[in-house]
Amino acid sequence: MIKTVKDNLNGFKLVSLLTPLAMILEVIMEMIIPRYMASIVDDGVAKGDMAHIYRMGIMMFVMALIGLFAGIAGGAFGARASAGLAKNLRKSMYDRIQTFSFSNIDKFSSAGLVTRLTTDVTNVQNAYQMLLRMGTRAPFSLIFAMIMAFTINAKISLIYLGAVILLSIFIAFIMSRATKYFKQTFEKYDELNASVEENVSAIRVVKAFVREDYENDKFTKATKNLYNMFMNAEKTIITNMPVMSATVYTSILLISWIGAKMIVAGDLSTGNLMNLLTYCMNILMSLMMLSMIFVMITMSSASLNRISEVLREETDIKNSEAPIYEVRNGEIEFKSVSFSYNKNGEKPVLNNINLKINSGETIGIIGGTGSSKTSLVNLISRLYDVSEGSVMVGGADVKNYDLETLRDKVSVVLQKNVLFSGTILENLRWGDENASLEDCKRVCRMACADEFIEKLPDKYDTFIEQGGSNVSGGQRQRLCIARALLKKPKVLILDDSTSAVDTATDAKIRRAFAEEIPDTTKLIIAQRVSSIQSADRIIVMDDGEVVGFGTHEELLSGNEIYRDVYESQTGGSGDFDENGGAQ
């Protein structure tokens, strides 16, 4: 964890060092000032030496000035160091994530990655600044105050030492208990908020079943529970304050009593007694500060931990050492392929798959949910690596290709596809940066996207909102297909990519494929039989295995599963929506 911070201080090492130094200087000044103060009282006032008072006063001004500069420097350096650390952490994580394979991303989930890049970094940034500034200030002012007190009078200072040791033990005890309580409480708190979230999104269900009172009851019980937990945690923590002030006061009284005796005996001056009392306050303030820092560090260490996890994660798909930069054609072959997402020997999702697909063929893939259709096609562009066997594209193992080349030539339209904020043109050019407007229009015609784009007021310059929320599901799918076509791929994979497109348009798109990119191998996953019926051959999948591979007619007569699906969907489209499920 400390390594994570150290590795991410590039360019900010100097300020990270200077901040504590400046803070120490500030503390030293703060500690010396009472010394001069005592001198004013003892040597100046008591002896009637005005010149001494002025001299000491000026010295104190100088000290205050140095302290001021040190303080400002510490503040500025600390801000720079912590903002810099945050910047570097974000950058390291973001870069790291770019190397992640699909399975790395699955492991963290994208929501998890976003939290790490945002909230967690902010937590660490705040804690680092606190650590650099207060974290130096508190222990050093404690130590200096102790040293100063001891140089004034060692005997009397033993009282401090005793008080500090006693208090430290007590605070450590309280804090460790409180942190435990608070951790539990925050977990409950998160649960409570999760249930609010549930209610906000399911409000229609709650209202439809008239369950407002029931939910209120449930919620009130949960808040009562949370109340009790918070009370327990807080009750522990508030014992801190009275114990601390009791210790301060006892020390003050003890020092007053012993100090008075010493003054009378001539072992201590009045000014020094005042100083000792000032240092007493200093020491206890530092202790309080330390306990706060302790809590803060414990809390942010969880964040730092999560960040380290991302930085430590090794991508499991690496580029070949002697990569091939050209994909010969769109021929695909699966040789005894088995695959599981989890390497710890869970039941494989694909089992001993052997397939040979010729370049330029159109292949339909059909099968129930969980029959591993998506897993099958994901292996072709090496989004995941096979567990056993090999996948060949254009006559070479996918592992031997340069990843970028492979993914350029094997174009996938993912099932869960997204558009990014930007114009339609910008989105399309993800497929090919240098594509001309003409190229873009051509692929949009193939994907039947031109008809709606032309109707938009800004046409190809229409701005797409984040996630493509301002276009309908069917329109989004068509844009995604166009984007994938722009790569001029040798293999095109559509993973349930026309589910929200009406049947007629769906057919039109397929016709365009057949006419305009006959040499490209096309793999089409679909739920609708009508989408794949006209394919050259159809793969039927069931429970991770290929249970049928042949033409529509062959399968209809020889494959029970296929016939079953076909019969349930016969008679026009099984789907009445032009735009599918996007409600």
Binding site: L403, D575, D577
Partner: protein, 642 residues
């Protein structure tokens, strides 16, 4: 498919939030008054004790500070002169001060102890009030407010409010009392020195204001930069798989670097300015201390106004304890303004108009006595609408049958934009009505009018001959079962989730409903069967399984009228068949409104309504509509053009 949610442990405490810019408040006085009203309503005696304790605590500590003067002037000085020093009076004085301190410590403890109760109690109350009120709000509220914004009230706003009540408020009060009592003591000790101290305080406040203004500007731009960076991160990371598929990694990093650098610049500047306020004030405090020491030294030496060394010592301590609370107040100020902004949002939620219910017709258990319906106190399986007529002072009982009629209904989410026009339809008990049409045609909207999620602009909806506006909403909704397309489940066991439909259902009844819905099979195969705990909206179940649970939930409620929103292509054919069977069984003998996506459902409906742009453009049975060769025909034959 919804992506699996991974629950991140959210960090509480001070680290979780960036200090933001000072938001503008319209009427802070009114807000504070209302917030105080909230606290004092239940905790007035508590707060009285707290105030007393704070005052006692401050006075005790001031007494302690004054003791330094007494110690030096009244005890040490005479002792120094005495030949045979007697320490007994000093001992007594110390015990006396110890007693003061004791009282101080005790009152600090009492007030913090009471304060946590007040804080946590108020927090609980606010949470409960917010939630209860939220549940009572009309659907429209949830349509017009982003869920993230609502959630942020429960998390961020409540958190800042908690900090304000538990820390800022007592600290402010404490500081105020300290300032007053210290000021009084200082004036008592020396007026010229007090004047000097106040002068430096004035300079302090002035610089704080200047610097804080600078940092505020940078905090604003930091907030903006943070927002755009986070937005970018969210968009790109959510689409990371697409980034990979298109080899777009380098491009994605380019823009990120730029935004990251912007944030660094503004964050660095904002924090830098915020950080230097402390040292400036601390050193000004030291200057104030030095000036007082020098001036005080002169006063003591010249013996002006009988000022003593002990007096100077005490004054200097006061000088330090005067500057501290002033710094604290200026530091707390920001967090109080932020908390009030949160309180403002919370109160706005609490002020939202709840769903209006002027209905008076209620749903009661009924039994037939001598051919007439009367009310029954126990569950009879038969229901009736209890309709009281004010004009004639009589009460009718109308049997609940499930007869629904729309008469020239117009509806719009607001008055300017009407989305449904002249909807006329009639469903007799047991009939199945299917709605067909493209997204946005108004299918879902119609069903939301029957259960009065929204109120219509014009026309009438009658249920068993009664205007739905006259029926109590809770009773109306209880008589309607709903299975929505995106199923929402709640954290809890499978059993609890099904029982949500009827709270007093026995375990056997739940299992029976699950069997009817075809859900029993998969539930039994779950690790803990009916006791399997579902979390995160049932994230561990497949889409089809979630739907089966929703069907079971509606089945156990056993309503005479059903509103079904069929799932589209997200489930595979085999599961679809199982879901279909469940739905069919549920629909038997009930009036059903179904938003249909499936041919089989549409085909065997009693009446099909084809909607387009908020109007019913075709209606009739499947055969009628095919013969008509209109929109339905083109949808059916797949020749529609999008």
């Amino acid at each position: 498919m919804a992506e699996t949610k991974v629950k991140e442990v959210k960090m509480g405490g001070p680290g979780g939030r960036m200090r933001g810019p000072r938001p503008k408040l319209e009427n802070p006085g009114k807000l504070i008054k209302r917030l105080f009203g909230y606290i004092f309503k239940y905790y007035a005696p508590h707060m009285a004790v707290v105030v007393v304790c704070i005052v006692v605590g401050v006075l005790a500590s001031v007494q302690g500070t004054l003791f330094t003067k007494t110690l030096i002037d009244s005890y040490i000085a005479p002792l120094l002169l005495a030949d045979n020093p007697d320490f007994a009076p000093l001992g007594r004085a110390i015990i006396r001060v110890a007693a003061f301190y004791g009282i101080g410590v005790l009152s600090t403890w009492i007030y913090s102890r009471i304060m946590i109760e007040v804080t946590q109690g108020t927090m609980k109350r606010i949470r409960d009030d917010m939630f209860t009120h939220m549940e009572s709000l009309p659907i429209k509220y949830f349509d017009t407010h982003a869920h993230g914004d609502i959630m942020s009230m429960y998390t961020n706003d409540i958190d800042t409010l908690r900090q304000m009540i538990s820390q800022s408020m007592p600290q402010m009060f404490n500081s105020l009392i300290t300032i007053i009592s210290v000021l009084v003591s200082m004036v008592a000790l020396s007026i010229p020195l007090t004047g000097l101290t106040l002068f430096v305080v004035f300079i302090m406040l002035f610089t704080t204001k200047k610097v804080a203004g600078q940092s505020g500007k940078f905090f604003l731009s930091q907030q903006k930069d943070l927002g755009s960076l986070n937005g970018y991160i969210e968009e790109m990371i959510k689409g990371q798989k697409v980034v990979k598929v298109f080899n777009h990694e380098e491009k994605s990093v380019e823009k990120f670097d730029e935004l990251n650098q912007n944030l660094y610049n503004s964050a660095y500047n904002a924090n830098q300015f915020a950080n230097i306020v402390g040292p400036i004030n601390a050193q000004l405090g030291n200057v104030s201390y030095v000036l007082c020491a020098m001036l005080g030294g002169i006063l003591v030496l010249k013996n002006i106004g009988g000022f003593t060394v002990g007096g100077l010592a005490s004054f200097l301590t006061f000088n330090k304890s005067f500057n501290m609370p002033i710094n604290q107040i200026s530091m707390q100020f920001n967090s109080i303004v932020m908390a009030l902004a949160g309180a403002d949002r919370i109160f706005k939620l609490l002020d939202e108009e709840p769903e209006l219910d002027e209905g008076y017709v209620t749903l009661v258990n009924a039994k037939e006595v001598d051919g007439r319906l009367t009310e029954s106190s126990e569950r009879t399986g038969k229901w009736a609408w209890k309709h009281y007529h004010k004009a004639t002072d009589t009460t009718d009982y109308v049997e609940l049958k499930g007869d629904v009629e729309f008469n020239d209904v117009d509806f719009g989410y607001n008055d300017e934009k009407i989305v449904l026009h002249n909807i006329k339809m009639f469903a007799t008990p047991g009939q199945k009505i299917a709605f067909v049409g493209s997204t946005g045609a108004g299918k879902t909207t119609i069903t939301n009018l029957i259960n009065r999620f929204y109120d219509i602009q014009d026309g009438k909806i009658r249920y068993d001959g009664i205007n739905v506006n006259k029926i109590k909403k809770a009773d109306l909704r209880r008589s309607l079962g709903m299975v929505l397309q995106d199923t929402h489940l709640f954290t809890g066991t499978v059993m609890e989730n099904i029982r949500f439909g009827r709270l007093d259902a026995t375990d056997e009844e739940v299992i029976k409903a699950a069997k009817l819905a075809n859900a029993d099979g998969f539930i039994k195969r779950l690790q803990e069967g009916y006791n399997t705990v579902l979390t995160g909206d049932g994230a561990n179940l497949s889409q089809g399984q979630r739907q089966l649970l929703a069907i079971a939930r509606a089945a156990i409620a056993d309503p005479p009228v059903l509103i079904l929103d069929e799932a589209t292509s997200s489930i595979d054919t085999r599961t679809e068949r199982i879901v279909q069977e469940g739905m069919d069984r549920l629909m038997k003998g009930r009036t059903t409104f179904v938003i249909a996506h499936r041919l089989s459902t549409v085909k065997n409906s009693d009446c099909i309504m084809v909607l387009e742009n908020g109007r019913i453009i075709e209606r009739g049975t499947h055969d009628d509509l095919i013969a008509e060769k209109g929109k339905y025909y083109s949808l059916y034959t797949g020749n529609a053009i999008a």
